[in-house]
């Protein structure tokens, strides 16, 4: 008998014509680790919320959801609330209290657990999560990853039997995301907790998941063990989900297409190493070094800038210099809190460096007038909604055009939105658009003033792989047309695939600066999975799948 049974479940939101979920059937055994993935708007969150009765949205529900062989409604609310835990996507918004300890005990206090038992549970949980040092810290001083750990711990204190997590890692950097996933794995393995996790970054969860669900348009498209799901998606050549597969698996199928039916496929670096050892006879084509034009025009230059936020504080940026040349696609990578976002703020004149200066077209940034600066550079913050003061994209563009006294507004709006493929959302309320659409709409705002430089802060945060690919293509096209792009990112795979130059920010300084390939191939840890696989192996070292396809000469096997 299954722990959770979902039978022919359909769900429809009140004001919509389409069903958010249709004909969903699924069985989950106790102690299983389920990973759910799919493009945004495919009904993942709705599915998760159906299992957490307090959060179930209003709408028309048919079919059966059974928990421990009884319908969910037959349980007491209080019991369900304890037994089914839910962790949300945004680490910031689910924290309610000012300090960590109060946040941890919030659920316990609500359930009227007495003080002695609370103390015992908290002591244990704090130890397990290693939260001791920050127990009395203010919650807003924690990093995103720490916040999410606190959220998880707070839910676990209620001792749930089933844990639901809605994209808990989407706002975290790769390291923090891994740490959180490792905790989930431990919970699953050491305590046998049943976990349902909605996640975009499948590469990290393929190993720990027992079952993978790929959803699209409110239905389950693929369901099964990780490796068989990979195989099915590849066999069907399913565009919707190809982007979700780990790059080593894709490499495997590309090199040895005849092995597709054997069912074996490497998903981790370790497995891929084993596979590559067997592989013989691949050598690289000598690529002609791309000829770079000798003299390039510097667009944006930082010369020895220093910055700190408060008088007593430490320097966030110290003696930092770099130059962005015309037509560069620059990726600035670095750990959390290394000052990447601060650097972008210096470049856009949001904050002023204490020492040193930023030059735009060889002129100091502070000599520009404000309205001229807005026409010269576009800044896309992490939260694209911040760019919008008006309710719709059209209104915002019209206002912007008035503010900067531009002409042919109507025409320009039309051509720009058509180019970006967002003409249909011109009149939609911006909060109703999906994350990818919001990102593109914000990009439209920036491009409207025809800037020479684009500064982008973490564009891929929280995006599903397909939207990521679309956004990347957009950036590539812009870059191709001569736009200079400076992008700050955690996403090494994204940087490796698209940027032509890469800077590593560490300790407030640019420590490495060079072509992306060179910089990342020299790293041991801060590099792509494919690079970790192919380094020191008998095949030529590559960074991306595309590079492998381009440069490897695979012998035709008889």
């Amino acid at each position: 008998m299954a722990f959770i049974e979902i039978e022919n479940v359909c769900f429809q939101y009140p004001d919509s014509t389409d069903r958010a979920l249709h004909d969903l059937s699924l069985e989950i055994e106790e102690g299983e680790f389920i990973v759910v993935a799919g493009p945004s708007g495919c009904g993942k969150t709705t599915f998760l919320k159906l299992l957490k009765t307090e959060l179930t949205p209003v709408g028309e529900l048919s079919g059966h959801v059974r928990y421990k062989e009884k319908p969910l409604e037959s349980f007491a609310e209080k019991k369900l609330s304890q037994e089914i835990g839910y962790v949300f996507q945004n680490p910031e918004n689910q924290i309610l209290m000012e300090d960590v300890l109060s946040e941890l005990v919030f659920g316990l206090e609500n359930h009227g657990i007495d003080s002695d038992e609370m103390r015992q549970r908290v002591a244990e949980m704090v130890h397990f999560f290693g939260l001791g040092p920050m127990l009395h810290a203010d919650t807003h001083t924690l990093s995103g990853g720490q916040k999410q750990l606190v959220n998880l711990a707070s839910v676990l204190l209620l001792r749930p039997k089933l844990l639901l997590l809605d994209e808990p890692t989407s706002q975290l950097d790769p390291l923090q995301a891994k740490e959180l996933l490792q905790f989930l794995q431990r919970l699953n393995e050491e305590f046998g907790m049943t976990i349902i996790l909605v996640e975009h970054r499948l590469e990290d969860v393929f190993l720990i998941a027992d079952q993978i669900l790929l959803m699209s348009d409110g239905g389950i498209e693929y369901n099964g063990e990780p490796k068989s799901v990979i195989q099915q998606v590849w066999l069907k050549d399913d565009d919707r989900f190809l982007a979700y597969l780990p790059s080593v698996s894709k490499l495997f199928y590309l090199i040895e297409p005849e092995k597709i039916h054997t069912g074996e496929v490497p998903v981790t670096v370790k497995e891929a190493h084993k596979w590559l050892k067997r592989l013989r006879g691949i050598d690289g084509l000598e690529m002609a070094a791309s000829t770079e034009p000798a003299e390039k025009n510097a667009v944006l230059q930082c010369k020895q800038i220093h910055f700190k936020y408060s008088k007593e504080g430490n320097f966030v940026l110290k003696n930092l210099s770099f130059t962005a040349f015309e037509g560069d696609f620059l990726a600035i990578v670095g750990g959390n809190g290394s000052g990447k976002s601060t650097l972008l703020k210096c470049c856009t004149h949001i904050v002023k460096p204490i020492k040193g200066a930023v030059y735009l077209n060889h002129k100091k940034l502070k000599t520009y007038k404000k309205e001229n600066l807005a026409g010269q550079m576009g800044y896309l913050p992490q939260n694209p909604l911040l760019c919008f003061m008006a309710e719709t994209l059209e209104e915002e563009l019209t206002n912007l055009s008035q503010r900067l006294k531009l002409t042919d507004t109507k025409q320009r709006i039309d051509s720009l939105t058509t180019q970006l493929g967002i003409h249909h959302i011109l009149h939609k309320h911006i909060h109703d658009c999906s994350g990818g659409e919001q990102q593109k709409a914000a990009l439209a705002l920036l491009l409207f003033t025809e800037p020479r430089v684009l500064l982008i802060d973490e564009p891929t945060k929280g995006m599903d792989p397909v939207s990521k690919l679309q956004f990347a293509n957009l950036l590539k096209e812009l870059h191709h047309n001569g736009m200079t792009i400076i992008m700050v990112t955690h996403d090494i795979e994204f940087a490796a695939n698209h940027a032509n130059r890469c800077l590593l920010l560490f300790d407030g300084m640019i420590t490495v600066d060079g072509p992306t390939e060179q910089v990342l191939k020299g790293n041991y840890f801060y590099t792509t999975a494919l690079n970790r696989v192919t380094r020191d192996s008998c095949v030529p070292e590559v960074l991306t799948l595309e590079e492998a396809c381009r440069t490897w000469r695979v012998p035709v096997q008889s």
Binding site: K52, E54, L55, E77, K78, S81, Q82, Y86, F88, N90, E92, N93, Q94, L96, M97, E98, D99, L101, S102, V105, F106, G107, L108, E109, N110, H111, G112, I113, D114, S115, M118, R119, V122, H136, H140, S154, V155, L158, K345, T348, H349, I350, K370, E371, L373, A374, M377, Y379, P381, N383, L385, L386, C387, F388, M389, L400, R403, L404, H431, L445
Partner: protein, 293 residues
């Protein structure tokens, strides 16, 4: 800096401030109050609250001066008339009374500086969640919301600055309308985020049980109870003494002598002991530390 007082049970903290507050109001004598101001300033320095003290002290002095000046203008009681101000008598008694009031005001303000440093929001919640848990929770949520709102404002302002949408340019009307737009955006944004917070509360069973319990991070030890008794006894002695007009400067109708009788000295000692309680605690801690090494 965390002093010894910080590490004591919040109830002890509260009791100390309460008791000192009461004694400051009953011992209306310039020497008592001046002593208190000095001691409390030292307590603040011990907390490492020097910057705040330095910043606020001029305001305190200003408020004190206002009281000293205004009291004789409005109060005509008192036997010793010094001069006439617009045909109204200005008496020595009224001036001295104003001074005593000013000292009391300043001492209470300095006391509050220390109170703010020692009783943080956590301790505050702890103290009041027993009396009224729902209100305490509401307060906690609000306390967190204010800095959150300010952080969001700053974030929005920074982004819009680059977009040439500033509230510090143009005519007053333009600025006002831009400011309103900012406010509107900020509220929409915050409301949307608050919806998620509400879901998070619901998901953790908020409002399911009638009775909400409170996690007790602090426990009263026997030593703490001893301190409660000590503080209580000192305060009661003080109040009883003040009732019998000891340690209180007789002002109206005629100004009495500033000099202390021997019983006055006794009450001065009690008062001194109570106000310097944090200093004694800290000193004790230091001595114990040195002896134990």
């Amino acid at each position: 800096m965390e002093t010894s007082l910080h590490h004591h049970h919040p109830f002890i903290n509260l009791l100390y401030y309460g008791c000192v507050g009461v004694l400051l109001m009953v011992f209306l004598h310039p020497i008592f109050l001046l002593t208190a101001i000095l001691l409390l300033a030292m307590v603040n320095l011990l907390h490492g609250n020097k910057e705040k003290l330095k910043k606020s002290f001029p305001y305190f002095i200003f408020m004190g001066l206002m009281v000293i000046v205004l009291n004789p203008i409005f109060v005509r009681k008192g036997a010793t008339i010094l001069f006439y101000f617009r045909n109204n008598p200005v008496t020595l008694e009224a001036i001295v009374y104003g001074m005593v009031m000013a000292f009391m005001l300043i001492s209470i303000l300095v006391l509050f500086l220390s109170f703010n440093h020692v009783i943080n929001s956590r301790k505050f919640m702890f103290l009041f969640s027993k009396v009224w848990p729902q209100l305490a929770l509401l307060l906690m949520l609000t306390i967190r919301f204010v800095p959150l709102f300010i952080r969001r404002w700053r974030e929005l302002y920074e982004v819009q600055k680059v977009r040439n949408h500033s509230i510090s340019q143009g005519s007053i009307r333009m600025r006002a309308s831009a400011g309103m737009l900012y406010m509107q955006k900020l509220l929409t944004w915050s409301l949307e985020e608050a919806l998620q917070s509400a879901e998070s509360m619901k998901a953790r069973g908020f409002g399911l049980s009638k009775k909400r319990t409170a996690y007790q991070a602090f426990q009263m030890t026997r030593r703490d109870w001893g301190m409660v008794v000590l503080l209580g006894v000192l305060t009661v002695i003080g109040i009883v003494g003040a009732k019998q007009k000891h340690g209180v400067l007789p002002i109206y109708p005629q100004l009495g002598s500033f000099s202390f009788s021997s019983t006055d000295w006794l009450y001065y000692g009690v008062f001194f002991l109570l106000v310097s309680f944090p200093l004694i605690l800290e000193g004790g801690e230091q001595i114990r530390w040195h002896l134990s090494k």
